[in-house]
Each structure stands twice: as C-alpha cells, then as structure tokens.
Subunit: 360 residues, 2 copies
C-alpha cells in the first residue's frame, strides 16, 4: 500500500505526521552537518544536548509547565511508572485510586507493593463505560495523592474534569497529553507514554512537582528515583536518544499547528465526525456513555461478532487500518490522536455510513 | 561535514553501518508496503510481530543461545539491570561482584539494596588498569552468582577469560556482545545495552537462564520481573519498537559480514592498528595493561592535558570524532565497535603517528 492511501487508527504506537517523518528520513544519515545520525551520537555531545534541551523547552512551553515542576524524559512506559509512583510518592503511605479501565486497575494493583491503595471509584461493574462524577468519588482524609487515568484507551472514555481533592493529583495522560490545557499546579505528577501523541514507543515523559521528590523507599532502583533523575537531568544513563529527537520534531509540528489550543480544536472536529455517525445510527452501539466519551478513542460495535469482523475487513480494504477493538471489549476502536488528519476521520465516517446503509 | 569524511569513535551511542542507516531511511515512511513507518505500527500488528520475532531469532542464531535461555528485549539500560539482577537473582541471598570499573562498581552498589554483595576483586587501587587473574578472585562458597563487566569502556580493559566459579556467572556485555563467542551454559544471565554493537540507545538485551527466574523479591516491579517478561515475551507493555527494528537490520548486517566470527576477526585487526602505534610510541601512555586491554576501547594519553586537548582537536579537524577520553581518566579513548570500518582505525593510527612525529 502507498502511504497516501492509508489512515492508521492504531491505539498506540500510532500515526505520525508525514512532514515529521520526512524530516527524520532526510536527516537520518547526517544530522545537520554533524556527519552522523542522531542514532550514532554520544548523548553527551553538543549536538544531542541541543536536541534534548530543545525537546524539554518545547514541552515546557507548549504544556505551560511551571518552574515548580521538573520534566523527566525516561524509559519503561506507563508500566514502570505504576511502580515508580508507588516507590516515590506512596512510599508506605496511603493514596486514592480511581479505577476506570485496565491501566488504572494495573496501576492500583502495582502500587499495593509500596503502600496502602484505596479504591476511590471503580467503574468495572458497567464495563468501564463511564467516568465517575465528582460526588461519586470516595476520598480518604489522609491520601497522599489521588490517582487517575485521564483517558481510557480500551474503553473510549475520558475524564472531562479534574477531580477536586484535598491532596494533589497524579495522572496518567498517555492518551491525551498535548490535546488539552493542564493546570499543573494541581498535580504532584503527570506522566505519559510517548507513543500516542508525542514520539515513537520507548520514551516516557514525567512531569513532577520538585517539592515532592526525595522520599522514596529504600528498595527504589536508582534509575526509578525521581530525585536522582531530576538531579541528573534524566541522564543518569544513556537516554532513548532517537525517541527524544522524534519528540523534538513532533513538538515543532504541534507548535506549527497552533500548539495545544490547535490540537484541542482539531481533536473535537475529528471526534465529532465519528460521534455524529454513532448518534444517528441504527446499527452501531457506542461503548462509552455520551457525556464521558473520549476525543481520542471512539469505541463501538454492531453487537454481532461476524458483522464487526466484516466492518474491520472492509475498512482495511479502503486503507482505514487498525480499527479493530481491543480484545477485552471486542467491536471497533478508532484512535484519533494529534497526528490523525481530519480527512482520515472523514473517510472513516463515510465508510461507517456506507456500511450501515448496506447492513440495516 | 559529509558523512563520508567522518569516523565516529564515540563510546556509545556509537557508529552504525551506512548500509543499515540507508535501509532505515528508505523504509522510514513506508515499511515494506504497509503504508506506515515502523514508528507508527501497533506492536501487536503482524508486521511488527515479524520484526520482533526476526530480531530474536537472529540473536539466538548469531550468539548461539541455547533453548535453556530466554532472550528478553527490554528498556532501561544497564542501570535498570543493576537493580533487576538484585531483585530477581540476588533476592536476599549473597553474590560475588568483581569491581573492575565504574559500571561494575555501580552494579555492586545497587545490588546491596537487595541482598549481600561480596567484593570478589577490586582493581580501583591501580586506576582500573587491569583485569584480576583467576587466582586473585576471592570467591564465596554460598554465592548465588558471580558478577562481572566483560569490558570496561572507560578504562579500556576487557576480560579475556570467563572466571571459573562454583556458581553461575552474570555478565554485563554491553560493550562486547556480538564480538566474540559466548558459552551461555555457564551464565545465569548476560545483558547488554544495545547502543554500542546492536541498536540505538533505548533497548537492553537480556539473556537469562529460564530455570533461574521466578524467585524475585516482593518489591519487584512487574516489568522488572524476568519471569513476567519471559511469560509475556517482553510485551507486558509496548516495547521500544524502533530500536528493535534497528536491531533486526544490524543483525542482518552482522550475518552478512561473517557473523560473530567475522566480527571477532575484524575487531582484532582494528584494535591491532592502534595498539601497534601505542606499543612503539615514545609519546603515548596506554592506560590499560597490555594483557588486559580491550578490543573495543583503546585508552591512552600523552600525560599532558594541553597536548591531549591538541590531539583531540586535531583529530576532529580530520573527521576523527569523539576521541576524547572519559572525564574520570582524561586523555583519549577510541571506541572500535563492530560498525567501525577498518579504514577508520587506519586513519586514526596514521594521525597518531603524525601527531607523535610532530611532538616528540
């Protein structure tokens, strides 16, 4: 298949802008006159240092991260953060966890190794089809933080408010970072696996309140100590250099396309195209409740396994790739991260309507 | 600078073969007709699965890894392995560590969090200029493993024998994996950060005896459990896909160039070019003792800081980049990993002779 005939709706790793990839390909053998690829450069070289500093500065600018918070560029994905948060911030105390999907459930389970985990909400009884409302949250008086996952990729739900709590917030923004403004003053820590809106898989961005680091458990590996990683500017060891370079190119692209405000506007347009089809459909069953549905992942099914499979196969024939739902929900899922062009969502919406006309 | 005018002697990340980078650039926007970049692919897709399986199979074939050992493709570098080895294999018991450089010292220090670390040898009193001989090793009767770092990148020393011990070996082969044959039956675990001989930074290869996993401490993060990562075939979460793709291309290149035997032969030729200059020099002082010197990192100085700086600057003018020594040793270091062409070593040897002629 030609690249121009394909729209990639994968849930992560996921589509990147063509212009970003073209720049990476053009510079791959010789990065800006250094005579070498970014993949070959010492992470202590001046050329890589500039890439690293630029990526951090762009994140700080685009996300409006205050000086109170350190930006760390780490490895290990969300899964390593589940433990790191427990080791560094829970550290024998108690915290509230909202379980609204698979990743928040895993985060809560992992944190139990390092302290007391209280479940502030659990939406599993209705298949994680919704986000709890503020007055449903069961908050503990002595919680060190309140943990939640802002967007549940598998289920297609998203928190459209920041919970009001006495303690600071800790949030997994893997799916929706750089798609909306964030008031970091309320957050002890925000983290995101890069492979949805930021960079190739292998990089994790952590934004942590400097005043809260340093109390980690004795069993904490040096490289998982937020204090050590802040002190070494994420370079205790060799960072994932290529991913950080791709992040810097992606952030340039975000800036050129209106920054976070531009991304916020475009995500609404994209998602509306698909939700409009679902809202007027007699064939498709949306998974998420209307008020809690995600701008990033649109989840639905026909209610019939064979028909879902036919939908997915027909989509692939048109170059609309990776719209199969996660195995725990079945059905379909269209992921619409920042790099998905409006045209991709439009083509998928057209196909959904055609498919419905043929099958109702 | 043009790529063809540059030889990159960086200690890691380090040079990669031009043909490998050309292939990556050519496939970057559209991997083999999938219509997408490897950076955009779902790690659960058939196309990425094939890349992953091919990389693992190539490692097994080229390194002759027996079925008793699992190959894991992880994140976090050697630094995360320092702790993972402690959590999984030390796990409250005792082990012997040979400290022959900075990385083995850090590994020993980190492991103390998870059990009893006994120092079997320590070469710091002579500036880590040598490798202890077999009869110098102080071995404990109840050690669960003997830990060593096969090649000390900073100091330019390399173990030219595998220690004889009652317990199995654990070895950091970050600098010399794929440069020599290894008898894995003697090893509980071998690991290597990929950024020297295998792939861009952000990937760690772990080869572990399956019969020894599963006894990890309760504080072990799920993603650091060798048992869990073996059971999930390194896909508990999203792996560093681009690095694994680059690994697969690098391993194809190793195979096309004679496999490990071919690499072993070429490393000797490359290193001999530089050591011949050192051995007949009246200017250069080698850091490592002759019998323990590394095939990978050639370390030397003039004994004068200003002259060392002049050497490094003159080298850079000729496109011989990153020959400055590590800050703890000073002087010069030329790293000669698998991708360094013989011509690079020859040009550096020529420059060393010219520089000496001008300064003696």
């Amino acid at each position: 298949m030609k690249r121009e005939d394909v729209f990639n709706f994968a849930a992560g790793p996921s589509a990147m802008p063509r212009s970003v990839l073209e720049k990476a390909a053009a510079e791959l053998l010789n990065y800006r006159g250094t005579g070498m690829s970014v993949m070959e450069m010492s992470h202590r070289s001046a050329a890589f240092r500039e890439i690293f500093d630029t990526a951090k500065a762009s994140l700080r600018e685009l996300l409006n991260v205050p000086d109170s918070h350190e930006i760390l560029l780490l490895q290990g994905g969300a899964t390593l953060q589940f433990a790191a948060i427990g080791m560094n911030l829970l550290a024998g105390g108690a915290a509230d966890y909202a379980v609204t999907g698979r990743f928040s459930a895993r985060a809560a389970e992992e944190a139990k190794k390092y302290g007391t985990v209280r479940i502030a909400a659990d939406t599993s009884s209705t298949g994680h089809d919704r986000i709890p409302k503020q007055d449903e949250l069961s908050l503990s008086p002595n919680a060190k933080y309140f943990y939640y996952c802002a967007n549940n990729t598998i289920y297609g739900t998203e928190w459209h408010y920041d919970p009001e709590t006495a303690c600071p917030l800790v949030c997994d923004m893997s799916s929706d970072i750089l798609t909306r403004p964030v008031d970091f003053s309320r957050f002890a820590l925000v983290y995101a696996g890069a492979q949805k809106n930021m960079a190739p898989a292998g990089l994790t961005v952590v934004i942590v309140d400097r005043s809260l680091v340093g109390g980690e458990l004795p069993c904490t590996p040096e490289i998982m100590s937020y204090k050590v990683m802040a002190e070494t500017d994420s370079m205790l060891n060799t960072p994932p250099c290529w991913c950080i370079y791709m992040l810097s190119l992606m952030l340039d692209w975000v800036r050129e396309n209106g920054g976070v405000a531009g991304m916020d506007e475009r995500k609404r347009e994209r998602a509306a195209l698909l939700y409009d089809v679902l809202d007027s459909s007699r064939l498709y069953l949306p998974h998420a409740r209307r008020e809690d549905r995600s701008f990033m992942n649109v989840t639905f099914s026909t209610g019939k396994k064979e028909l879902d499979a036919e939908f997915v196969a027909g989509a692939a024939q048109r170059g609309l790739l990776s719209v199969k739902g996660h195995k725990v929900t079945g059905g379909m899922r269209a992921s619409l991260y920042n790099a998905m062009p409006l045209e991709g969502a439009r083509k998928l919406a057209d196909y959904m309507r055609e498919f419905e006309a043929e099958h109702v």
